[in-house]
C-alpha cells in the first residue's frame, strides 16, 4: 500500500540525512520526499511517500518517531486528506497547430503557461500525482523537453492538523 507520511522535524542541519539514511539502512523505499520550513522557522515539515505492507509501514513510523529530531508525525493515508504535487513541464511548441494543441491540453488539466518563447511553452500543473502522470500520458512524448516535479505534499481534511 502507498502511504503518505507527514513529519514535523527540527529544522537542523542533518535532519534530512537522518531520515534518508534510515530508509536506505533499513531497506525501505522512498517514492518521494519533500521538505521545507513551516511558519515556525525552527520546524520543518517533511512529506514522505512510501510503499509497504502494514507491518513495514508500522516499523517505518516507529523508526521515524524514534529519531530524536522528529517532533511528530502522521500517516495521512489513515484518514481523509488532500494530496498535491506541482509539476513544471517545458514543451516544444513550434507553429500554430502545435502551439494550440499544447495550450488546449494545458487548459484541460488546468495548467498555467508560465513561460513562453517562440519555440517553447513552460506549463505549471498542480494536482495529485495521478493527475500529473495523466497529463504526461496525454502529451506527445516527443514534445517534452524537461519535466520537474516537486514531490508529493499533503494535508489532512477538516479540523485534524499536524502541529505541536
Amino acid at each position: 500500500m502507498r502511504h503518505i507520511i507527514s513529519i514535523l522535524i527540527e529544522n537542523e542541519a542533518g535532519a534530512l540525512s537522518r531520515v534518508a539514511g534510515l530508509f536506505s539502512a533499513r531497506g525501505y523505499n522512498i517514492e518521494s520526499l519533500t521538505v521545507a520550513p513551516t511558519e515556525d522557522a525552527s520546524l520543518s515539515r517533511m512529506t514522505l511517500v512510501t510503499r509497504g505492507s502494514d507491518d513495514i509501514i508500522e516499523q517505518i513510523t516507529k523508526q521515524l518517531n524514534k529519531l530524536i529530531d522528529v517532533v511528530k508525525l502522521m500517516d495521512l493515508t489513515e484518514g481523509p486528506h488532500i494530496e498535491r504535487e506541482m509539476m513544471l513541464i517545458k514543451l516544444r511548441a513550434v507553429g500554430g497547430d502545435q502551439r494550440d494543441e499544447v495550450k488546449r491540453m494545458a487548459d484541460i488539466f488546468r495548467g498555467r503557461i508560465i513561460d513562453v518563447t517562440d519555440t517553447t511553452y513552460t506549463i505549471e500543473v498542480t494536482g495529485d500525482s495521478t493527475k500529473l502522470d495523466a497529463f504526461i500520458q496525454a502529451l506527445d512524448k516527443s514534445l517534452i523537453l524537461e519535466t520537474v516535479r516537486s514531490g508529493v505534499m499533503g494535508i489532512s481534511r477538516g479540523e485534524k492538523a499536524l502541529r505541536i
Partner: protein
C-alpha cells in the same frame, strides 16, 4: 567568568559527575587535553587504541549503569572508535563519545585528519551532534548525556571542531534539559497491562522470556518478585543473564541458538509468553515461522520499534520494565487471583523431563582440558561473584552457559554486534569502576589478539584483570560451523604461528601462566586469584581443540530442532 570551549568540556564533565574519561590525544583535541592537564577532577585513562577506549567506556557503563565517556581526535581517532560505538549501539549501552573535528572554517575542505564523523556514525548512534558555536557547547553536552541514558539507552557522539574548543564564552552548568522532540515513556498503558495480567493469570503453560532491558533498567528485583509470585519458569537471553538468578529453581537457562534444551522446548510449547525487555533477536527466535507456535505473546519494551518487529505480538506494552512490572504486581495482588496450580504443576513436570536430558553435559574424564570445566572451576574459585567480561566465539557461549550469573551487570559481553576484541578493554573499564572487585576476561586466542595492545594500558594503571584464554588454536566458532555445515572444510579457521602468550604477558610486565592438564586447572586458578591477586595474570589454557558448543539450533531451524551433544 569566560572559559574556553576546552575548559567548558572538562568542567562540564566534572559537573555532570563523570569520574573517568577513556581517550587518546591528537591534534584536534589538544586544547581539551591541555584543559585536562590543568585539573585533577576528571581522571583520563590513556588507552593504546581508540577502539579500546570505546569498549572500556562501554564496560564501565555496563557494570555501573552510568554512561561511559570517550574522547578521541578527529579523522583516524574517530574512525577507530566506530566499532566500539556500534558495539554499544547494538546492546543499548549509554555512552557519550567526544570526537575532535577540524576547525569549522576547514570543514568540507578535505582538511588534514578530517572525516565526517557525524555522517560516519549516524547509523550506529542513538543521536549525534556537531557543535558549531562555543555558546551551544554546554547545552549540547547536556543533551548528549540526557539522551544517552534515558529511554532505550545508547551511544551519543558529539563532534567538536578545534576552534570551538579555543573560543570563549560564559559557562553555566545546565542542570536540566528538556527537548520537545524527545520524551521517552516509562509508564505502561493501564488497559493493556490489565489485559496482559488476565492473560498471564489464565496461562496453563506460561513462560517468562527476559532480556537486556531488565539489566539496563536495574529491574531485577521487580522481575524476581514477579516470577516468584507466579511460580512461572524464567529464561534469559544472553544479554539478560544475571537479571534473574541462575541458581534459582525457576530458572531454566538461556534460550536461543545455544540455549538449553529445556528453555527452547518450553518456548516451543508454552501457551502464554511474556517477553520482558527482550527484542526477539534472530539468535533467539530461530525460524520465526516456527517460533512459539502455541503462544499468545505479551511484550514489555521501552522502545516501540522493538515491538512486533520480528514477531507479531498480541499485547504490546510500551514502558519500562520496572514501572510495568510494579503495576502488574499490584494488579495481581489486588485481584486476589492466583495461577492455575494444577496446570502449572503439570507444566513443571514436563519441564523437569526436558531438564533431565542434561543438555550441557560434557566429558569429565577427558585427558584434555575441557573449556566447560575451566569455567565451572572459575565459578567455584570466584564464588560466582566476579565481573566476567567476554570476547566473542565459543568461549563466550560456554561462559554464558557455565558461569551461572546470579547478579545483574556481572556478565559483560558484546551480544548484538559480536565484536571480537571487546573483552580485554571492557574488563579495563569494569576494573576502573570497581577497583576492588575480581574482574575476569574470558577470551580465545583469536579474540585476544584483536586488542592485545591494551596489556600495556593495564600495566600503566595497575589493573589486576585475570585473563582466561581458552586457547583451542582455532577460530573455534567458525570451525564449529565449518564442521557442521561445510563438510569439515576448515577454511582459514586455524590459528597458526600463535605467540607464546606467557612470554608475551611477561614482556608487557604481567604474570603469564600456561595450563595444559585438567588436573592443574583448579590450582592454577587459585594461584592467580590469591598469590597474584594484585597482578594481571594471563592464563593460557590449552583446551580440547575439537570441543563444540551444544545445544545448537542450526540457522533456519525452529527452537525445538536442536543439535544435542
Amino acid at each position: 567568568m569566560e572559559l574556553t570551549g576546552a575548559e567548558i568540556v572538562v568542567r562540564f564533565l566534572h559537573d555532570e559527575g563523570v569520574e573517568h574519561l577513556f581517550g587518546y590525544p591528537g591534534g584536534a583535541v589538544l586544547h581539551i587535553y591541555d584543559a585536562l592537564y590543568r585539573q585533577d577532577k576528571v581522571k583520563h585513562i590513556l588507552v593504546r587504541h581508540e577502539q579500546a577506549a570505546t569498549h572500556a567506556a562501554d564496560g564501565y557503563a555496563r557494570s555501573t549503569g552510568k554512561p561511559g565517556v570517550v574522547l578521541v581526535t578527529s579523522g583516524p581517532g574517530a574512525t577507530n572508535a566506530v566499532t566500539g560505538i556500534a558495539t554499544a549501539y547494538m546492546d543499548s549501552i549509554p555512552m557519550v563519545v567526544l570526537t575532535g573535528q577540524v576547525p569549522t572554517s576547514l570543514i568540507g575542505n578535505d582538511a588534514f585528519q578530517e572525516v565526517d564523523a557525524v555522517g560516519i556514525t549516524r547509523p550506529c548512534v542513538k543521536h549525534n551532534f556537531l557543535v558549531k558555536d562555543v555558546k551551544d557547547l554546554a547545552i549540547t553536552l547536556k543533551k548528549a548525556f540526557y539522551i544517552a541514558q534515558t529511554g532505550r539507552p545508547g551511544p551519543v557522539v558529539v563532534d567538536i571542531p578545534k576552534d570551538v574548543t579555543a573560543n570563549r564564552t560564559k559557562y553555566v552548568f545546565p542542570k536540566t534539559v528538556s527537548m520537545r522532540s524527545y520524551n521517552p515513556v516509562v509508564k505502561g498503558h493501564t488497559g493493556q497491562i490489565k489485559r496482559a495480567v488476565g492473560m498471564i493469570l489464565g496461562a496453563k503453560r506460561p513462560m517468562l522470556y527476559t532480556g537486556g532491558g531488565v539489566v539496563l533498567n536495574d529491574a531485577s528485583r521487580q522481575l524476581v518478585e514477579f516470577a516468584r509470585l507466579l511460580g512461572y519458569p524464567v529464561t534469559n537471553t544472553s544479554m539478560g543473564l544475571g537479571g534473574y538468578p541462575a541458581s534459582d529453581k525457576q530458572f531454566v537457562g538461556m534460550l536461543g541458538m545455544h540455549g538449553t534444551y529445556e528453555a527452547n522446548m518450553a518456548m516451543s510449547h508454552c501457551d502464554v509468553l511474556v517477553a520482558i525487555g527482550a527484542r526477539f533477536d534472530d539468535r533467539v527466535t530461530g525460524n520465526v515461522q516456527k517460533f512459539c507456535p502455541h503462544a499468545k505473546i505479551i511484550h514489555i519494551d521501552i522502545d516501540p520499534s522493538s515491538i512486533s518487529k520480528n514477531v507479531k505480538v498480541d499485547v504490546p506494552i510500551v514502558g519500562s520494565v520496572e514501572h510495568v512490572l510494579k503495576d502488574m504486581l499490584k494488579l495481581i495482588k489486588d485481584s486476589g487471583e492466583v495461577p492455575d496450580g494444577e496446570a502449572l504443576a503439570k507444566w513443571w513436570t514436563q519441564i523437569d523431563e526436558w531438564r533431565a536430558k542434561e543438555c550441557l553435559k560434557y566429558d569429565k574424564s577427558s585427558e584434555l582440558i575441557k573449556p566447560q570445566y575451566v569455567l565451572e572451576t572459575l565459578h567455584k574459585i570466584t564464588k560466582g561473584d566476579a565481573f566476567v567480561c567476554s570476547d566473542v566465539g565459543q568461549h563466550q557461549m560456554w561462559t554464558a552457559q557455565f558461569y551461572r550469573f546470579d547478579k545483574p551487570r556481572r556478565w559483560i559481553n558484546s551480544g548484538g554486534l559480536g565484536t571480537m576484541g571487546f573483552g580485554l578493554p571492557a574488563a579495563m573499564g569494569v576494573q576502573f569502576a570497581h577497583p576492588k572487585a575480581s574482574v575476569v576476561c574470558v577470551t580465545g586466542e583469536g579474540s585476544i589478539q584483536m586488542n592485545i595492545q591494551e596489556l600495556s594500558t593495564c600495566l600503566q594503571y595497575g589493573l589486576p584483570i585475570k585473563i582466561i584464554c581458552l586457547n583451542n588454536r582455532f577460530l573455534g566458532m567458525v570451525r564449529q560451523w565449518q564442521e557442521f555445515f561445510y563438510d569439515k572444510r576448515y577454511s582459514h579457521s586455524y590459528m597458526e604461528s600463535l605467540p607464546d602468550f606467557v612470554k608475551l604477558a611477561e614482556a608487557y610486565g604481567h604474570v603469564g601462566m600456561q595450563i595444559d592438564k585438567p588436573a592443574d586447572v583448579e590450582a592454577a586458578l587459585k594461584e592467580a586469584f590469591t598469590k597474584h591477586k594484585n597482578r594481571l595474570v594471563f592464563m593460557n589454557f590449552l583446551t580440547d581443540q575439537t570441543e563444540n558448543v551444544y545445544p545448537m539450533v542450526p540457522a533456519g531451524a525452529g527452537l525445538d530442532e536442536m543439535i544435542l551433544v
